[in-house]
């Protein structure tokens, strides 16, 4: 991963008449990063991606790709960008192979039979290459969408909700594929999602937006370290534990007891200190399970308990 900026967005806004879909959004994505672009449904993620891909015109602001200012007429940059925006919609009357051939040709990709079949195999569509897309499930279309975004070997891959419709196995395969592309091939992945766990486990950096505004942006690890999380301590001698809690200042961690487990509310860097303290006080710890999730973090910073995230 390098600090070469691949995407630089400054003060990007989009108004639909009086409705502000995106409001002064700024972010930077560096080379080799998997950048999580998070927010609940309707937060402005897809509108931002549509502006980045020239599908809609920004009301104001600038977008730079690979250090160069991007305008709608600048099409050459799309040789270096692969994208999957929202639903993976294809020509239903054509086969996956034909669809990939079609979009690959437009992208200037190697559309030899060998390469197309290799790409379809890579996304797990081997054996169904020549089936018409109308016979595909949403998950299969999603895989084809990802193949379509990668077929011309782009440097930057922009994926909007790429694991929608995938089963857990499919989600893992796509996640592994994206991590591999970033780590081993140096590709930059811009990943929009409202599935927080997906981003938490994949993204190196992230931005969270809500109601068209950027709420927070930074390295995933840094952001999560400052966030509070629940940690479950399972102990073999709960009575000792109860005594320690009663006679120490541990109560400040908002401890609750649930089925023999003691749930602490901690910041990430506090966990080790608590473990050490408990061991010193002869608590026999059976397990420590962090229950931290970006979901909690998201709720903390947005204050929106009803946001459509999972």
């Amino acid at each position: 991963m390098s600090s070469t900026p691949i995407i630089e967005i400054e003060n990007l806004s989009k108004n639909f008449k009086k409705f502000i879909a995106v409001n002064n959004l700024s972010l930077t994505v560096n080379q080799g990063e998997i950048f999580g672009f998070l927010g609940p449904n309707g937060a402005g993620k897809s509108t931002t991606i549509r502006m980045m891909l020239s599908l809609i015109t920004p009301s104001s602001g600038t977008i730079k790709f690979f250090g160069k200012r991007f305008t709608q007429s600048d099409r050459e940059v799309f040789r270096r960008i692969g994208a999957l925006v929202e639903r993976p919609d294809f020509y239903l009357y054509l086969s996956a192979y034909r669809n990939l051939h079609f979009f690959g040709s437009l992208a200037g990709a190697d559309v030899s039979k060998e390469n197309l079949l290799r790409m379809l195999k890579l996304v797990g569509l081997e054996g169904r290459e020549y089936s018409k897309v109308k016979t595909y499930s949403l998950g299969m279309k999603q895989r084809l969408g990802i193949a379509q975004s990668l077929i011309h070997n782009p440097d930057l891959v922009i994926l909007d909700e790429p694991t929608n419709g995938l089963d857990p196995q499919g989600m893992k395969e796509i996640k592994d594929l994206l991590i591999n592309l970033a780590r081993n091939e140096g590709k930059t992945i811009f990943l929009s999602s409202h599935i927080l766990r997906e981003v938490e486990t994949m993204a190196t950096s992230m931005a969270i937006i809500n109601n068209g505004n950027t709420i927070v942006q930074g390295k995933t690890e840094d952001l999560l370290n400052t966030a509070e999380m629940k940690v479950a301590f399972e102990v073999l001698n709960p009575s000792i534990m109860q005594n320690i809690i009663k006679n120490s200042n541990l109560a400040k961690f908002g401890i609750t007891e649930d089925s023999g487990k003691f749930i602490f509310t901690l910041k990430s860097n506090e966990t080790n200190e608590i473990i050490k303290y408990l061991i010193e006080n002869e608590v026999d710890i059976k397990s420590v399970v962090p229950m931290r999730s970006l979901e909690n973090y998201f709720f903390q910073i947005t204050g929106d308990k009803n946001a459509d995230v999972n």
Binding site: L55, I81, A83, E86, Y91, F102
Partner: protein, 278 residues
């Protein structure tokens, strides 16, 4: 650009709806030929009844030229529907299927994409008319042979056999131009909406309404009629007058070309600037 046109043509000819036009031509023209084969003589007698008292009509009156003219006349309503069926889907179909999002995020400008689509559609219209010409004129001549052509309108025109064939080539060229106007309307409507039924219905409604205005005589309608493209679409019949009123034909051709240029420009400008929300 050639690659784009090739890909667009591949898409057009991969759709079932494209073949509706060809199938209907392949079915209807032989049906008309069969009907003319068995009932054509009666039809000719009926058409020339008024002349039979003063003229001696001889020779092969029911010939391939006559059959083709009858087919052209009957297909002037049918072909626009077949054109609109494909043109109405060319842009709106991408919006409906959601494929704009892939199509317009490639290293190709919107102008190139819409140009390729427009040209591919023009090729479809041309192929439809070529098939129509081969089936009506070619097969018509094979079945009925050639001969002089009697055209009964407000006056009677008799065209010599040698003077007929070129008029058909011109009239198919004229038909092509007329259908391009229809195509341009449907294509424009297709850019405005996200459902392909709308442009087809809008185009056909426009043709029907304008055709009704064409047949309404007197009053304000007389002043409107010269501006309706349907008025000029019908002027292909003037190519079978003797002598041909070239001034009128040229005016109609110019007005149709102006329609095509204006509609296409509007469509291209709108498409290159529109926000893709589908």
């Amino acid at each position: 650009m050639l690659m784009l046109i090739k890909l667009e043509l591949f898409k057009i000819f991969s759709k079932w709806r494209t073949y509706i036009g060809f199938i209907s031509i392949f079915v209807l023209i032989p049906l008309i030929h069969i009907a003319l084969y068995f009932e054509g003589k009666k039809l000719i007698e009926l058409g020339t009844q008024a002349l039979s008292g003063g003229f001696n009509l001889s020779g092969n009156l029911l010939n391939g030229f006559m059959a083709t003219r009858i087919i052209l006349q009957s297909f002037y309503v049918h072909i626009p529907l077949l054109v609109a069926l494909v043109a109405g889907d060319m842009l709106a179909g991408e919006a409906t299927s959601g494929t704009y999002r892939f199509l317009l995020t490639k290293p190709i400008s919107r102008l190139q994409i819409i140009s390729a689509k427009y040209i591919s559609g023009v090729i479809y219209v041309a192929s439809l008319l070529v098939i129509l010409m081969i089936l009506s004129l070619g097969v018509g001549i094979l079945i009925f042979g050639t001969g002089d052509m009697i055209i009964v309108n407000s006056n009677i025109t008799i065209l010599k056999e040698a003077d007929s064939l070129w008029r058909f080539y011109y009239s198919f060229g004229y038909a092509f131009l007329s259908m391009l106007v229809v195509y341009s309307f449907a294509f424009m409507f297709s850019a405005f909406v996200e459902n392909s039924i709308g442009p087809i219905m809008a185009t056909m409604s426009l043709i029907i309404v304008f055709s009704i205005l064409n047949i309404l005589g007197g009053g304000v309608f007389v002043h409107i009629q010269p501006f309706l493209f349907t008025t000029h679409m019908q002027n292909w019949k003037g190519l079978f007058d003797n002598p041909i009123d070239y001034a009128e034909i040229n005016t109609s051709v110019a007005i149709m070309i102006a329609h095509i240029v204006l509609l296409t420009t509007l469509t291209f400008v709108y498409f290159t600037k529109k926000d893709i929300n589908s």
